[in-house]
Structures are given as C-alpha cells and as structure tokens.
Amino acid sequence: MSVFFYRTFLVFLSIFLVIYLFDFLAIKTVRPDLVLIIVTYIAYRKGSFSGEITGFFYGLVEDFLFSSLFGIHAFSKFITGYITGKFVSNFIIDNFFVQFFIILIVSIINNVIFLGAALVFTNISFFDYLGLLWIKTLYTAFVGVFLWYFLVYFERKLGEI
C-alpha cells in the first residue's frame, strides 16, 4: 500500500515539477518527460499490466492538467507502458549506457505514438513538431538516467526491491 501511495505521490510530484520548477531546465520550451520515466520504471519493475494501467492513469492526469487534446497523453503513455512491460522487462538494466538506450527507445516509441495521435486528431505541422520531439526524446533519456538511480534508491528504502 505504501508503494502505491509513494508512486502516486511520485507522479504528482513529477507533474508539478514539470509545470512549475522545470522552467529553468527548459530547452526551447521543451522539458524532460518525467512522467514517462516513472511509467517506464514501473513497467520495467512490475510488467506490462501495471505498465499500461500506470501509463493510462498518469497520462490522464497530464491530460487534465495541460493537454489541449484530451486523452492523448493517456493514449501514448498506456501503450508505451504496455510495450515497455512486455519487452524491456526481459532486460537487465545495470549500467548507464543500457539505461540511456532503453529510455531513449521508450521515449521514441512514446513520441511516435503521441505524434501519430496528434496528426490524426489535430492539424499540427508535422516537421515543426518533429524537431521539438527529438529534443524532448534526448532530453528525457538524459534526465531519465539520473532519475532512475533515485527511483531505485527510494524503492530500496521502502523495501520494494
């Protein structure tokens, strides 16, 4: 139960961090996708079922807070969580480069799904958005490596691992 509350707290914290405190980390108005990193981490630890549920509800929270196309974050995150749980949980992530690579791949999948949904449901400019997504992907992967260590550390403290 404590882990559930802890993870819920993590998501809200990460969302508030993204909204209010990460302005100074923004590159061309792009901020690292902290929620995706947490969803990836949970999917990796608990499997595809937990990954898709976590991804859907955390994505929904993001939609509520700052999405003009309601449901797009839930959509991209739950599929990403499912895929991560299905395939990435088979890997043993124990070094920096593997972590970076995995988060990079997950972030690309998430952004491709996101962009696909956005193209279908809105009339955004594909190339303008693609440029920003690349920055976001790399940025998320970079930040994700460090955040991963923190998540592992705190879960060890809570006795989950």
Binding site: S48, E52, F64, S68, F75, Y82
Partner: protein
C-alpha cells in the same frame, strides 16, 4: 470459465478498453463533457496547486534574497561612500557660496562707499578684555595709520566698530566702541541733539551718552549717527539706537542715555578701515 478467460486475458482486455477509451477521449476532446471534467479536476487540484506555487515562490524569494543580500550590502557601502562624498561637496558648495556672498558684499560696499576703504580680516580678539580690542590683518605697509576709523556693515548700512589704536608692520590693533577709552561725537537726528558716545567696558554691550539735558525729548529706538563735528568718523555713520533712558536721579538736571550698537562685534569677520575721505 468466463472469469478464468478474463483473468487469463486481462492485459489484452485492459489494453483494448484503454485504447477505446482514450480514442473516445481524443475524439470528443472538444466536447462540453471533457471540458467540464477538466474544470472539475482543476477545482480539486487548485488548492494543491496554490500551495505548491506558494511554496515555490517562497523558496525562490528565499534563495534570491540570500544571493541578493551580498550585492545589496556592497551597493549600500558604495552608496554610503557616495553620500559621504556628496556631503563633502555640499559643505564645500555652501562654504564657497557664503564666501562669494561675503566677497560680493565687500565689493559692493567698497564700490558704493563715499570713502576709500581698506578691507581687513579680524585675526584675533583680545582675550583679556573681550572685544574691546581686535587685531586685524592690515598694517603699516598697507597704509594703515593710528586714529583711522574702522567700520563694518549690518543690513547694508555702515556702522562704527572703533578706531585704529596701534599699527604694526603687517597688523594693527583696533580699539572697539566697547572700550571705556573710546568716545566719539554723535548726533540724534529726530531730537536734534549732539552728544558724546562712550564705551562702557568689559561685559557691557551698550554705549552711553552722558549728560543730556532733561528738557530734551529723546525717543526709544531713535537712531544715533556720527556727526560732522567728530574728527574721527565721517558724518552719518550709524552708531546705534537709543535703547534705555536712565531718569532715576530726580535731583539731577541731566540724564544718561544708553545705545544699542548697530554693529555686533561678535558676529563680524571683516572690517573696513577708512583710509581716505573722498
């Protein structure tokens, strides 16, 4: 059987449900339902959001205040130095302004006067007999001679200060109107009476006019001027004003009149020596 099927395929079922739901959400993204749902969510979240913003702002102000304290201290020190500098400048400005005013007055008196005046600075005042003698910075080489009248100005009007009593090479000594040995002929223009004004010595601020007959009517605050009959001072230089009439001796045929001097020796810095009458 059905529940076993659901349990076995729960991942795919949930995936399908989420897929359909999120597609529906996106499809109806602009409908009233999603907007109002968002509004409800925002209402619930608002207090937390408010608290977080408050904490964030407090932290930001706190951090920025720490960093700003040092720079503000430095700025304050610089401003203090600047203020000190400007204070000095202001003091210099007022001092120069005062000197200019003084010099302007001196030049004005010198040019407007009908006598040839030598301006002199008071170097010293007699410490034993306060103000009964002054030492001035002009002497024999400047053409100063014993017996020359010394005047000063009060509200642009000339008034007597004394006479030169001793002359040295570079300085001179002035016997002021306070000295008991000082006396000069005076004229009261309203009462039309001529008298002799004398100093009253140490600790006395007044001059006296002696032996004026009681049948002469003298008014308080009447001006007293030097007379042409005086060999020391040119005529019509103000000596002072009638301040007090001593009428206590009933048996006497005369009374004493006391004058308040026109020039206050305490407040003057420069004097003018009349070296020649034009």
């Amino acid at each position: 059987m059905f529940s076993f099927f659901i349990f076995k395929n729960k991942e795919r079922l949930v995936f399908t449900i989420f897929f359909v739901v999120s597609i529906l959400f996106m499809s109806f993204s602009t409908t009233k339902f999603s907007i109002s749902l968002k509004a409800v969510f925002n209402t619930v979240v608002y207090p937390f959001e408010y608290a977080v913003i408050g904490i964030k702002n407090t932290v930001v102000y706190l951090v920025s205040s720490f960093t700003e304290v040092d720079s503000l201290r430095k700025e304050l020190k610089e401003k203090d130095k600047l203020i000190e500098y400007y204070r000095g400048q202001l003091a210099d400005y007022y001092s120069i302004k005062y000197k200019i005013k003084e010099l302007e007055e001196v030049l004005k008196y010198k040019s407007e006067s009908s006598y040839k005046l030598e301006i002199s600075k008071i170097l010293n005042r007699d410490t034993e007999e306060i103000f009964s003698h002054l030492i001035i910075d002009k002497g024999y080489v400047d053409g100063i001679r014993v017996g020359m009248p010394v005047i000063s100005y009060n509200r642009d009007e000339p008034g007597i200060v004394g006479i030169v009593s001793e002359v040295y090479l570079l300085t001179s000594k002035v016997r002021t109107y306070k000295d008991p040995l000082f006396s000069t002929g005076v004229y009261l223009p309203y009462s039309r009476v001529i008298a002799v004004a004398s100093g009253m010595g140490k600790d006395k601020t007044l001059l006296s006019l002696g032996y004026i007959e009681k049948d002469i009517n003298i008014n308080i605050n009447e001006p007293v001027l030097t007379t042409s009959e005086s060999s020391i001072f040119p005529e019509n230089i103000k000596v002072g004003y009638v301040n007090y009439i001593d009428n206590t001796e009933k048996s006497s045929l005369t009374y004493k009149v006391f004058l308040k001097p026109h020039i206050d020796i305490n407040s003057i810095k420069n004097v003018f020596i009349i070296t020649e009458r034009r």
